[in-house]
C-alpha cells in the first residue's frame, strides 16, 4: 500500500461505502433531520418577534449548521455498537489498517448525513420564513462548511471511542445534542455566556466552523476561524487516536470485542 495516495484512497472509498449504508435506510434518517428543523422553526418564530431581519439570517444560518452537530451527537456514540451488532467490529480490528483510519471514515460519513439536514433547514427557512442567507464569498463559505464537517467528525471520532464500553452509549450521545446547540453558537451568540462558559465553547470545533461560515457569508475574512477549527479538529483526532489504541488493547484483554 503506497503511503499518502493509498491512505487517501482507502479513506475515500470506505467513507463512500459507509455513506451508502447510512443513506440506504431513509426512514431512520428522517428523524435525524426533522428534529433540528422543529427547533429551528421555534428559533425563527422567536427571532421574528424581534423584527430584525439580520437576526433571522443569523438564526437561519446557525440552524442549518445545527444539523451537523445533531448528526454526530446522536449517532457517533453508537457507531462501534452498531459495528458490534453487525458482527463486523472484530473484522475491522483484525484488518491490518490502523483502527483510527478505519473509524474516521465512519464518523465522517455520519457527519455527511448531517449535510442533508443542513440543506433541508435552509430550504425550510427560505420557504416558510423568507430567510435568504447571503453568501458573499461562495468558495470560502463552502470551504467553511467542509472544514466544519471534518472537524465535527473528529469530535465524533473521539466520542465514539470514549463510550465504547458502555452499552447505553446512545443515551450519553443524545445528552450532548442540546449542549452542543447551545454552546457552539448556532442560535445564540457565544458572547452572551459567562466567561467560563465561553472557554468551553471555544474548545469545540463547531464554534469556529460556525464563525467561519458566518464570516464568509458576510464577506469578512474567515481564515483565523478556519485555522482554529482545523487545529482543534486535529487535536481531537490525536486524542481519539491515542484513546482508541488504549481502548482496543483493553478490549482485547477483557474480551469485549464480540459482545453484543
Amino acid at each position: 500500500m503506497t503511503r499518502i495516495p493509498g491512505v487517501a484512497r482507502m479513506l475515500t472509498v470506505t467513507w463512500w461505502l459507509q455513506l451508502k449504508m447510512l443513506s440506504a435506510s431513509a426512514f431512520n434518517g428522517i428523524l435525524q433531520f426533522v428534529w433540528p428543523l422543529f427547533f429551528a422553526t421555534t428559533a425563527f418564530l422567536v427571532y421574528r418577534q424581534n423584527g430584525d431581519p439580520a437576526a433571522l439570517v443569523y438564526a437561519g444560518l446557525g440552524s442549518a449548521v445545527m444539523g451537523l452537530w445533531s448528526a454526530i451527537a446522536t449517532t457517533a456514540s453508537g457507531a462501534l455498537q452498531r459495528e458490534r451488532w453487525h458482527g463486523t467490529l472484530e473484522l475491522l480490528v483484525a484488518a491490518p489498517t490502523p483502527f483510527a483510519l478505519v473509524l474516521v471514515p465512519i464518523t465522517v460519513a455520519m457527519t455527511t448525513i448531517g449535510v442533508y439536514s443542513m440543506g433541508a433547514t435552509l430550504l425550510w427557512g427560505w420557504l416558510l420564513f423568507g430567510i435568504v442567507v447571503p453568501v458573499a464569498s461562495p468558495v470560502l463559505f463552502v470551504l467553511s462548511l467542509v472544514v466544519s464537517v471534518l472537524a465535527v467528525a473528529m469530535f465524533g471520532f473521539l466520542l465514539s471511542v470514549s463510550v465504547i464500553r458502555y452499552r447505553t452509549a446512545w443515551a450519553l450521545g443524545n445528552m450532548l445534542e442540546y449542549p452542543g446547540w447551545l454552546l457552539c453558537g448556532f442560535l445564540v451568540p457565544v458572547t452572551l455566556f459567562p466567561t467560563w462558559v465561553t472557554w468551553i465553547s471555544w474548545a469545540l470545533p463547531p464554534t469556529w466552523g460556525m464563525e467561519a461560515a458566518r464570516q464568509s457569508s458576510a464577506g469578512e475574512s474567515p481564515w483565523l476561524a478556519l485555522a482554529l477549527c482545523v487545529v482543534l479538529g486535529l487535536a481531537y483526532a490525536s486524542v481519539a487516536t491515542l484513546l482508541s489504541g488504549a481502548v482496543l488493547r483493553s478490549a482485547r484483554r477483557h474480551a469485549t470485542l464480540a459482545l453484543t
Binding site: L17, H86, E90
Partner: protein, 327 residues
C-alpha cells in the same frame, strides 16, 4: 519453521457477579494449549461447544490477548506484532453476522479490500476471481440482507481471501448450513488447501475433521486431549470394541452403573426419536454384554451390536460425555 505455533496458550476470564457484594469468578477457557501447524497443512481443532476452540483461534488471530503462553504465526508474535500477523492471515467465521447487510456483495468485498490494502489496480480482478471461486458470480449486485446463510458463508470466505493470505483461520465455517451447502463448502476448503494455503479449522463435526484435516487436535474444556492424524486417533481406541444397545427409556442411574463396570472405558447415550442408543466402549478382551443387559432388566431392549470403534467413538471417548450425551 512451523507456520502456526501455539506454546502453552492460556486464556482466563474474570467475571464479577452481584451488585452489593461483588464476587469474582475466574473461568479458564483455554489452559496450556500447545500445537504446531506446518506449511500447507490443514489442521483441525475439534471439540464440543464451549471447549475453547473459538477462544484459541481468536488468540491466534490477535483479537484476544492470551493470559499466559505464547503464539506465533509466520514467525510473528501475536501479542508483539499483531499488524504483521493480520496482514498475512484471513479470518472466516460461521453464522449470519460479519457482513454489511445494506451493501451488496461487491461493495462488501470492496470495503474489506480497502482495509486489507489490496492494490487498487488488482481489486476488481481479485473480487471477480473470488466471486467465481465461491460460486457467487451473478449475485454480486444483490444486497447481503437477502442472502441465505450458505451464500453469506461463501461471501465470508471470499472476504477472507481478498489479500491472498498464506494462512486461513476458519471458525466453524459450516455451522447451521444445510448438508448440500456444507458439502460444497468443504470442497471449497479442500481446494484452498490444494492451492497451498495453511488452514486452521475449528469444528465440532468429527466427520468434517476426518474428511478434511491432515491432523486433528481434540480439545475439551480448554485443554488438548489428543493430537494426531485421523488414522492415529482411530488407532488409539481400536483396541477394544463398542457395545451398542438400542433401548427405550434408559434411566440415568443405569448408565452410571454401567460406567462402573470393570473394563468399561466410557458410556454415552444417543437419542434416536423414541429410542435411545447406549454406546459402551469396552477394553480389549472384556465381555460386558451380559452385565449391561442385566442392568437394563425391566427396560425394553432392541438391537444389541458389538462392533469396531469408529472415529466418532474415538471422539466421544476423548471428549468424554455425561449420561445424556452432552458435555
Amino acid at each position: 519453521m512451523p507456520v502456526i505455533e501455539a506454546d502453552d496458550l492460556g486464556r482466563s476470564y474474570v467475571s464479577t457477579t452481584g451488585i452489593l457484594r461483588r464476587r469474582r469468578k475466574t473461568v479458564e477457557a483455554v489452559r496450556g494449549v500447545s500445537f504446531e501447524v506446518g506449511e500447507g497443512e490443514l489442521f483441525g481443532l475439534l471439540g464440543p461447544n464451549g471447549a475453547g476452540k473459538t477462544t484459541t483461534i481468536k488468540m491466534l488471530m490477535t483479537l484476544l490477548l492470551p493470559t499466559s503462553g505464547h503464539a506465533r504465526v509466520l514467525g510473528h508474535d501475536v501479542v508483539a506484532e499483531p499488524r504483521e500477523v493480520r496482514r498475512n492471515v484471513g479470518y472466516v467465521f460461521g453464522g449470519d453476522r460479519g457482513l454489511y447487510d445494506r451493501l451488496n456483495a461487491r461493495d462488501n468485498l470492496r470495503y474489506f479490500s480497502e482495509l486489507y490494502g489490496v492494490r487498487p489496480d488488482r481489486q476488481r480482478v481479485r473480487i471477480d476471481e473470488l466471486l467465481e471461486l465461491v460460486g457467487l458470480r451473478g449475485r454480486e449486485d444483490e444486497r447481503v440482507e437477502g442472502f441465505s446463510r450458505g451464500m453469506r458463508q461463501r461471501l465470508h470466505i471470499a472476504r477472507g481471501l481478498l489479500h491472498d493470505p498464506a494462512v486461513l483461520f476458519l471458525d466453524e465455517p459450516t455451522i447451521g448450513i444445510d448438508p448440500v451447502g456444507a458439502r460444497e463448502l468443504r470442497t471449497l476448503i479442500g481446494d484452498l488447501k490444494a492451492a497451498g494455503k495453511t488452514v486452521l479449522l475449528t469444528t465440532h463435526y468429527m466427520f468434517e475433521a476426518d474428511e478434511l484435516c491432515d491432523r486433528i487436535a481434540v480439545i475439551r474444556s480448554g485443554t488438548i486431549v489428543a493430537e494426531g492424524t485421523p488414522a492415529q486417533l482411530k488407532d488409539a481406541v481400536s483396541d477394544g470394541h463398542v457395545l451398542e444397545v438400542e433401548a427405550y427409556g434408559v434411566h440415568p442411574d443405569v448408565v452410571a452403573s454401567v460406567r462402573r463396570l470393570a473394563g468399561v472405558r466410557s458410556v454415552s447415550i444417543e437419542e434416536d426419536g423414541q429410542a435411545q442408543r447406549l454406546l459402551v466402549q469396552v477394553d480389549q478382551g472384556v465381555e460386558v454384554a451380559p452385565q449391561v443387559l442385566g442392568l437394563l432388566d425391566g427396560t425394553t431392549v432392541g438391537r444389541v451390536v458389538t462392533r469396531q470403534p469408529s472415529l466418532e467413538d474415538a471422539y466421544v471417548e476423548l471428549v468424554g460425555t455425561s449420561a445424556n450425551g452432552q458435555d
